[in-house]
Structures are given as structure tokens and as C-alpha cells.
């Protein structure tokens, strides 16, 4: 891997995880984000599935990009994504059946998640398979960490637990009772308004961070100058 490639992959990673973060900056794919981020386990499971679909669909579309007629590319992309999601749906049903029952409709709905199609159309259709798979994975992981954070906060505030439902993935594991058994739980955190409120707070926190970093970059040692 030469220096150019390293720069390219570094750039893709940085954009996917932070600069163009799907959940915090592009605000794309919010349907699953808001619907399943009621607990850490649900959020991470669905976003891992999304990461897998994004990486595979990116690689597949990039490999086939010279063969797909430009005029009908969108239906072809959707068919490829739908095929991958169907495999994943069957795999969940077979090996993680309890989780499959919880996530339900949201696994097939990954097909319609606009972030998947957006990356395929904007990146995979114009780049090499490896770069496209890397981009899909980076964008997906950007979604994953935000969903994991959102799911943890909502679960913690709403139910007072962490890793509830972990036994669906790791048999025998137990959820943590963070605030003890008498915690009443702020129900609204688990309901849809909670998703919007906490996502809004996360976006605001990121914006504040970026603004502060930019201010530091443009006026580096403000304190030193005034002193």
C-alpha cells in the first residue's frame, strides 16, 4: 500500500467516523436509529447488521460498476442491497432468533435505509471495490458508535440498566442494574421523543466541539497574545 492509498483510506475512515458521520452530520438513516436505539444491545445489533450490508454492498456495486447501465443503476443497486439484506435476515432468524424477534421489521428495512443507497450511489459507483467496501464499513461504524451511545443513554435513563437483553446474543450473560432495583425509569427516554431529544443533544455536543476546535485553529494562542 503506497502513500496515496494510505491517505485515501485514512480520509475515508476519518470522514465515515466523524466528519461526515451519518447520524450526527448527514442525519441520514434515522428510521432505524430512532426506532431501535432503545437499548444498547438492540442498537449495536442492528448497526452491526447495517455495517455488514454497507461494506458488502459497497464492494459488490464497485466491482460491478462498469457492467451496470447508468440509466437503471438505482434499481440494480437496490436489488443488490436487497439480496444481501435477505441473506442477513435469514442468518439472524437462524442463529440469533430471540434478537430477530426483537428487531423484527427493522432488519428487512435496512434495504430502504437511505444511507446504504446514498453511499453506494455517491461512492461505490465511482471507486474501486476495496475502497468502496472500506467506505461502507467506515460509514457504518460511524453509525454504530452513535447508535451504541444513544442506545446506552436511553436504556440507562429509561430503565436504569445497561446491556439489557445481552443474553439473546451471549447466552448466560446478565444486564447491569446501574441505579439499583428501585429506580423508576424515566419512561420518555425509551419512547420515541427520547430518541429525538438525546440525538439532538448529541448533535449539539458535536457542533459545540467542532466550533471550539475551529476557533482554536484560527486564533491559536489567544490567551498568550492578550497576556
Amino acid at each position: 500500500m503506497n502513500a496515496d492509498d494510505r491517505a485515501l483510506y485514512g480520509d475515508i475512515t476519518r470522514k465515515g467516523l466523524w466528519e461526515n458521520n451519518t447520524a450526527l452530520v448527514q442525519l441520514l438513516g434515522l428510521c432505524p436509529l430512532l426506532a431501535v436505539s432503545t437499548s444498547f444491545v438492540n442498537a449495536v445489533s442492528l448497526s452491526l447488521a447495517t455495517v455488514l450490508v454497507m461494506a458488502l454492498s459497497g464492494g459488490t456495486v464497485a466491482a460491478l460498476r462498469t457492467l451496470i447501465p447508468h440509466e437503471i443503476r438505482i434499481p440494480v443497486f437496490i436489488l443488490i442491497i436487497a439480496a444481501l439484506v435477505t441473506c442477513l435476515d435469514l442468518a439472524f432468524n437462524a442463529w440469533l432468533h430471540d434478537l430477530y424477534l426483537v428487531l423484527g421489521i427493522f432488519i428487512p428495512l435496512i434495504v430502504t435505509n437511505c444511507i446504504v443507497l446514498a453511499r453506494v450511489e455517491a461512492f461505490a459507483a465511482k471507486n474501486s471495490p476495496l475502497a468502496a467496501a472500506w467506505d461502507g464499513a467506515a460509514m457504518g461504524i460511524g453509525l454504530l458508535w452513535v447508535l451504541a451511545l444513544l442506545g446506552s443513554v436511553r436504556e440507562l435513563v429509561g430503565a436504569g440498566t445497561l446491556f439489557g437483553g445481552i443474553d439473546m446474543v451471549i447466552p448466560g450473560a446478565h444486564a447491569l442494574q446501574v441505579f439499583g432495583e428501585h429506580y423508576r425509569g424515566l419512561l420518555i427516554a425509551i419512547l420515541p421523543p427520547g430518541a429525538f431529544i438525546f440525538l439532538g443533544l448529541l448533535v449539539a455536543a458535536r457542533n459545540a466541539w467542532v466550533t471550539r476546535a475551529q476557533a482554536r485553529a484560527t486564533h491559536p494562542p489567544a490567551a498568550a497574545v492578550s497576556a
Binding site: R184, G185, L186, L187, I188, L191, P193, I197, A204
Partner: protein, 334 residues
């Protein structure tokens, strides 16, 4: 070059807010007299929380703290929250609701004058969605002594259901759900003369405070008149069609938060509509939605949700009801 207005009234935020606080006193006094002194504890908890949150948020935002703290707007929000909540609510719930209203409902949107939603109703909605059981425990008329009431507010575990009961709206809903019809359910002494023993007096005290605000021109007639008129109209239609299923207009006007909402909640100058016709539409919409929630919804009183829903519509209502600029005809480009 001088522009109108030539005559100005010396009205400050502090004077308006102070007047609102005074106008709330009759209803607070009646409620304390009938249902016990726990409300005073709630007012204190909400006021302290509101002032602390206001100061903290202004400090974080780098704004001057003292002028905003003394303009009394945070206290109005706090008092409106306290009077909506069941007086025996534990202290932490009141603090939580007030902090949510001030921090998320008011300051995250830009502070006084910028909030699209009524902060007091946000607090109420947060609490009733999160803690429906706690929010339906109102003290009965056979007021317990002050020590017991304060013990409930500040104490840990809540003991018996004996001294609390449902509000008349809640009792009516339960009665209807268990197969009774409105007329016979409302024969029970808990329903008082018209809309619940005690409750009707609190409602009338709200109306008295509201009339004071009207007389001092803190609010205009549009919102209370449209609110009460629309509530009377829709409840009368329901009552005439199916008196066994729907309560009478008199009940709906005097029960729950109707009169308080009409004079003190919907008239919020920030989150409500501002044009004269817009105010009529806004208030009538609240009354209609509130009645629909009372009659068909899952919550006993719908004023809070109705106000929040109509708050969302305010930009559109204001846009569509802008009066033509003086000298222009309707339809002219401004």
C-alpha cells in the same frame, strides 16, 4: 423622521410577569384552602429549581444573569408547572419537570422569547408520559394535615392510596370504561355541583385571575374567548348527540385545566399565535384537541398535549393570518 407608535406604555417584561404572578394568587389560595398546603411546597421547589436552572444556563451561554433572573419569567414558568402538578408529587419529579422545561424547553431554543413550545406544558407532558401513576394521585378534599402532606412531598416511599383520589376527569373516564354512563357516573358526590367537588372553585378562581389579566390588558380577549367558546361548542355537540358518553359543556368548562389553560397557558405570548385571527384559530384548535383527548384519548386531561400540538402550528397560523399592512388591500403584495 418619526415613526409610530408615538404613545408608548411603560411595559417591561418584569411588570407583565409580576402581574401574571399576582393574577395566579386567587387560584393558588383556593387550591391551598381546599386541598391542603402541599402546593406551597411545590411552588417553592419549582421556583428554586427554575431560578437555579435559569442562572446556570445563562452562565453557560455567556449571557448576563442578573437581568434575566429578576424579570420573573422563570418564576411564572415555575408557578405554572407547580399548579398543574398533583400537589403530593414527590419533590424530585417536580424538580425534574421544571429543569426539563427551563433547560431543554427554554434555553436550548435560545431563551426567553425564542421557545416554540410552552415550557410549563412540556414539563407536564414529560411527567405524565413518564410517571402516569404518580401524576394521577391528587389529594382528596378531606385535606390531611400539613405534616402528612409535606411528608409525602419530601418523604421517600409513598404509603397508602387512602388520601389520594382521581380527578373528576379521571373518575369520569374510569366510570365510562367500566361500563357506566356519564349521567350516572356524575351522580357521585365527588363530582360536586358541576365539575367536581372543590375543582369548580379552583377553576372559577383561575377565571377571576384571568379577568384581572384582561382588565390590565396583559392579554387580549381573543384566546380566552375562542378557547372557552370552542370548548363549549364541541362539548355541547358531543353531549347533545350522546349524553351517556360525553359530559356536559358545563363540566368540560369547569373541570381540569380548561379555564387555567384559556387564561394562563394558551395566552403565553411567546409560544402562542400573535395575530388577532391567528389567536382565535390557535385557541379554538387547542380546545378542540383537548376535548378530543378527553373524550377519546388515553390521558384524562388533554390541555397540555393540545397546547404543544398547536404550538407546532403557530408559524403556519401566523403566516396565513397576517393582517394586510395599513393602506394595502388584501392580496396586494406588501
Amino acid at each position: 423622521m418619526y415613526n409610530s407608535p408615538y404613545l408608548r406604555q411603560n411595559t417591561s417584561v418584569r411588570r407583565v410577569m409580576g402581574t401574571v404572578l399576582v393574577a395566579m394568587l386567587p387560584a393558588i389560595a383556593v387550591q391551598v384552602w381546599l386541598f391542603g398546603p402541599a402546593l406551597i411546597a411545590q411552588l417553592a421547589i419549582a421556583s428554586l429549581t427554575a431560578l437555579a436552572c435559569e442562572a446556570a444556563m445563562l452562565g453557560l451561554r455567556g449571557r448576563p444573569v442578573a437581568p434575566a433572573l429578576t424579570d420573573l419569567s422563570a418564576l411564572v414558568t415555575a408557578w405554572l408547572i407547580a399548579v398543574c402538578l398533583p400537589p403530593l408529587l414527590p419533590w424530585w419529579a417536580t424538580m425534574l419537570g421544571t429543569a426539563f422545561a427551563l433547560i431543554i424547553g427554554k434555553h436550548l431554543y435560545g431563551g426567553l422569547g425564542q421557545n416554540p413550545f410552552n415550557p410549563a406544558m412540556l414539563a407536564y407532558a414529560l411527567l405524565i408520559v413518564s410517571f402516569p401513576a404518580l401524576m394521577s394521585q391528587w389529594p382528596g378534599l378531606q385535606a390531611t394535615d400539613a405534616a402528612t402532606q409535606f411528608g409525602w412531598v419530601f418523604g421517600g416511599e409513598r404509603m397508602v392510596d387512602g388520601i389520594t383520589g382521581a380527578t373528576p376527569l379521571d373518575a369520569l373516564r374510569t366510570g365510562l370504561l367500566t361500563g357506566g354512563d356519564a349521567t350516572s357516573v356524575m351522580q357521585s358526590p365527588a363530582f360536586g355541583h358541576v365539575a367536581g367537588a372543590g375543582w369548580e372553585w379552583v377553576a372559577l378562581a383561575w377565571a377571576a385571575g384571568g379577568l384581572l389579566l384582561l382588565a390590565l390588558r396583559i392579554i387580549t380577549w381573543h384566546i380566552p374567548v375562542a378557547f372557552i367558546g370552542a370548548m363549549a361548542l364541541v362539548s355541547a355537540i358531543g353531549w347533545l348527540i350522546a349524553p351517556a358518553q360525553f359530559a356536559s359543556p358545563a363540566f368540560h368548562l369547569l373541570a381540569g385545566g380548561t379555564l387555567m389553560g384559556a387564561f394562563f397557558i394558551a395566552t403565553d405570548p411567546v409560544s402562542g399565535a400573535t395575530t388577532p385571527r391567528g389567536k382565535l384559530i390557535f385557541a379554538a384548535g387547542i380546545a378542540l384537541i383537548a376535548w378530543l383527548i378527553r373524550a377519546f384519548g388515553a390521558y384524562p386531561d388533554g390541555i397540555a398535549f393540545a397546547v404543544l400540538l398547536m404550538n407546532i402550528c403557530v408559524p403556519l397560523i401566523d403566516l396565513k393570518t397576517q393582517p394586510p399592512v395599513f393602506g394595502h388591500k388584501k392580496g396586494d403584495a406588501p
